[in-house]
């Protein structure tokens, strides 16, 4: 009875998988807000390296992973696939539960999978400094690690709510040599504008993105990096799903359902996109379920439309599910899931009904996380725990029906910096937020059309 299914270092994928090659409905282009026309790739050059812009627009199915990047991946990849024997026993379920665990990376999450290649392409093109934002601190930590390894300066704008909740995330970034600033800050126009009207604001990912983009656009030696949402990020994350497929080949098993949390949508697409051809071409009966918080239910309650990626409207227009770029989600503890939009590639597949979406309240999510911790030992991040909740529900359902389903959890990271959130849960002080979707719909219905 194996608990860990482990691949050899040599089996780290040599190519990334790009789902854009296999979409039933082609991806809607990114638009320039000024002209309403598809964006000219040259417009991206002031803030992104050419190597990444090429990947962003690519529809090639396979993209080579540079050897320098694979060498760094060796520090923690391939990540283990666990069979959750103990959780199954606690739930007394005939279901087989697996989890692909990304918490073994130096930064404690899946984020370095894309931070490393992003820093690499920037280094190759002589970029000296990178500005970015971070929600829960996982991306900020991931990029701080990557820039340290490639000798690039790094400034991270961290959403105020998380900056205060997780001081040790800041310490970690500092240890890797990065500078971490609470957002909104008074270092940028966008930040100052928000602070003027809302001096006490808890911030949001949308505001932090505005600040980082502005920082990159106003400094010659500086580029911008985004840890989620964009196509190239999702492509980099495919190393997870490619490994997972190989790991399943070592068992007699194949997933019936894969659950993963979605904030901007990078870890989950990374895990499930490599299975898309199985589902579409080989007609595998596989469910893929994106899990999000009810406080910020982008995929389940949002509108599928063009919207800005940030609050200050500095980014191009992306076709995605959105709650509105001006939406500031409540300060839930899964800080990494507080984003008004989602990755266009993921949204495209959700819109086509190939990937499903479900939303959960934070108390039930922490309850599930606690069951997981007390059986499997690992303390999962609150974000990742959004995938544990439905997996446990599904396993309990199997107990009733007697079905022996194979359930996979994309466990994106550990919760060692979220202990105060666990305390709040155990103290009974967490509120369950809900997005008032009906009232919002009502308020948008009669808005004057621009």
């Amino acid at each position: 009875m194996r608990t860990k299914i482990i691949l050899d270092e040599e089996e780290i994928p040599k190519k990334w998988y790009n789902v854009a090659a296999d979409l039933p409905t082609p991806l809607d282009p990114v638009l320039n807000p000024a002209t309403g026309k598809p964006l000219d790739p040259k417009d991206l050059e002031p803030i992104f390296p050419k190597g990444l812009i090429k990947q962003e627009l690519s529809t090639e199915r396979w993209i080579d992973i540079p050897e320098e990047v694979r060498d760094i991946y060796r520090l923690w990849r391939p990540t283990p696939l666990y069979r959750a024997h103990r959780l199954e026993k606690v739930l007394n379920t005939p279901a087989r539960i697996y989890y692909k665990y990304e918490g073994v990376s130096p930064a404690g999450s899946h984020k370095p999978n894309t931070a490393i290649p992003q820093a690499y392409y920037n280094m190759k093109e002589g970029v000296e400094r990178i500005a970015t934002e971070t929600g829960a601190g996982q991306w900020g930590s991931g990029l701080s690690l990557a820039t340290a390894l490639f000798g690039i300066e790094c400034r991270v704008y961290m959403v105020r709510a998380s900056y205060d909740q997780k001081p040790y995330r800041r310490s970690m970034m500092r240890a890797w040599g990065a500078e971490c600033i609470a957002s909104p800050s008074n270092l940028t126009e966008s930040g100052r504008a928000v602070l003027k009207d809302h001096p006490d604001t808890s911030g949001s990912l949308g505001i932090a993105i505005s600040e980082a983009v502005e920082d990159a656009a106003t400094h010659d030696n500086t580029n911008y990096a985004l840890g989620s949402v964009l196509n190239h990020v999702l492509t980099h994350q495919s190393v997870e799903g490619l490994e997972l497929k190989k790991q399943f080949e070592l068992t007699d098993d194949y997933p019936d359902v894969i659950y993963g949390c979605v904030g901007g949508g990078s870890n989950y697409p990374g895990v499930c996109f490599p299975f898309i051809p199985d589902k579409l071409k080989d007609k595998k009966d596989l469910r893929m379920v994106a899990c999000e918080p009810t406080a910020c239910p982008t995929l389940t309650k949002g509108l599928y439309a063009y919207d800005f990626g940030d609050t200050a409207q500095l980014t191009p227009l992306l076709k995605m599910y959105t709650l509105g770029h001006d939406f500031v989600p409540p300060a839930i503890h899964a800080g990494g899931l507080r984003y008004h939009g989602d990755a266009p590639l993921l949204c495209n597949l959700v819109h086509d009904g190939i990937i499903e979406a479900q939303a959960f309240h934070q108390n039930e999510v922490f309850e599930a996380a606690t069951i997981f911790t007390r059986s499997e030992g690992i303390l999962p991040a609150p974000e990742s725990s959004h995938a544990i909740k439905p997996a446990i529900d599904e396993a309990r359902e199997c107990k009733k029906t007697g079905e022996k389903k194979t359930i996979v959890i994309a466990l994106s990271g550990h919760g060692h910096f979220d202990l105060s959130s666990y305390d709040a849960y155990h103290d009974g002080t967490l509120e369950d937020y809900e997005y008032p979707a009906e009232l919002v719909k009502q308020s948008l219905a009669k808005l004057p059309k621009l």
Partner: protein, 372 residues
């Protein structure tokens, strides 16, 4: 600081009088003992160590002087109270405090005392040490010790002020089994934002007024759907009027349709007339006072008849996160138990701009069961 004790507050409670208004003699005859002096002393005990730069102005004898002297505080008597004190004495004493340019009036009593004090103090903040039979008003600290904590924090300049409702129940009707609470006015009171007081990691704006504004802006947006909106009493809902640019009756119920005020300070009959004329109607209400009542206290015009006509699904509850934090559940007591049941359960409460929380709504009858 003004310091006032209503020596007879709370006496009716233990002897089954549901209040002490106009019944002091009866309460005493039934063997009631004063409760407020002990509550006041408990608060003063917890205030020990307050710096020497704080001076108490008070009324003579039982109205404050005695407990301050016993607890060894510096004070100055600015009102000579008669032997048998009443509501008028509370009011006169407070006026005397106001002449001394005080920063805060602390009183020990119940809803009746709160009404008397708030009736004369205007903008000067007040804070209640709870000692009454009924304490629905939002100016009361949850205990004498909590009151001391708030006083210290406020005098150190650490706390903000918020506007809150002064509510009192008609005791004569209450004694005959009818609970009719009325909103009498507003008062400013120091508060510790519950969201940041214990758990610093739950960072968020701690300004309750900002949340009221957010709720009002969101409401002004969703109110564009063509329905008539019956808007209940209170400070949270009155902000909606401010955003819409209409003069909302603070202590009453108004009806707004397509941004216009179509019925001001409506009675139940007015509301039923409006409902005859409009196609769709919705109700916006907010919990009033300190105990989380959304129905049955403060906006009785929104009667079971009105609620049934509008439909329980068209009831929109709004409240600041601070207010929700103060109460474990929201309460309904419409006078129609079957309707109360329909309104109970986990309901969405709008707490900010495009933001809501799920909160348990319970009928008062259920709560009694739970507490037993």
């Amino acid at each position: 600081m003004g310091f006032l004790v209503n020596p007879v507050a709370g006496m009716g409670g233990a002897v089954g009088l549901k209040g002490t208004d106009k019944l002091v003699a009866e309460a005493k005859k039934r063997g009631a003992r004063p409760v407020s002096p002990d509550r006041a002393k408990a608060a003063l005990e917890a205030l020990r160590g307050l710096g020497p730069d704080v001076l108490f102005f008070t009324a003579s004898g039982e109205m404050g002087e005695r407990v301050l002297r016993e607890k060894g505080f510096e004070y100055q008597v600015v009102y000579q109270a008669p032997e048998d004190t009443g509501a008028e004495d509370s009011r006169t004493a407070c006026k005397a405090f106001l002449d001394r340019k005080i920063d805060l009036i602390v009183f020990c009593g119940g809803d009746g005392t709160a009404r008397d004090v708030a009736g004369v103090t205007g903008d000067v903040p007040i804070l209640g040490i709870p000692a009454g039979v009924k304490m629905h008003s939002g100016v009361f600290a949850i205990s004498p010790e909590a009151a001391a904590d708030l006083i210290k924090g406020y005098l150190r300049g650490e706390l903000r002020l918020r506007e809150t409702e002064i509510i009192d129940v008609d005791e004569e009707m209450y004694r005959s089994g009818i609970l009719e609470a009325r909103l009498y006015g507003l008062a400013r009171t120091p508060y510790k934002p519950a969201l940041v007081q214990e758990r610093k990691q739950i960072y968020r704006s701690d300004n309750e007024d900002e949340f009221k504004d957010q709720i009002a802006i969101f409401a002004s947006e969703f109110m564009r759907d063509g329905s008539a909106y019956i808007i209940g009493a209170g400070t949270t809902t009155s902000k909606i009027g401010a955003v819409l640019g209409i003069e909302k009756t603070l202590l009453g119920v108004d009806v707004v349709h397509d941004g216009k005020l179509i019925c001001k300070d409506a009675s139940e009959k007015d509301l039923l007339n409006v409902l005859d004329e409009v196609e769709n109607a919705k109700i916006i209400i907010s919990p009033i006072g300190a105990q989380g009542f959304v129905l049955g206290r403060g906006s009785q015009q929104i009667s079971p008849k009105v609620l049934r006509r509008v439909g329980p699904d068209n009831l929109i509850i709004v409240a600041t996160p601070h207010k929700l934090r103060d109460t474990p559940y929201l309460l309904v007591d419409s006078g129609d138990p079957e309707l109360d049941k329909m309104l109970s359960g986990r309901r969405q409460v709008v707490t900010g701009y495009r933001m809501a929380q799920l909160k348990q709504v319970m009928a008062t009858s259920e709560v009694v069961l739970v507490q037993k």
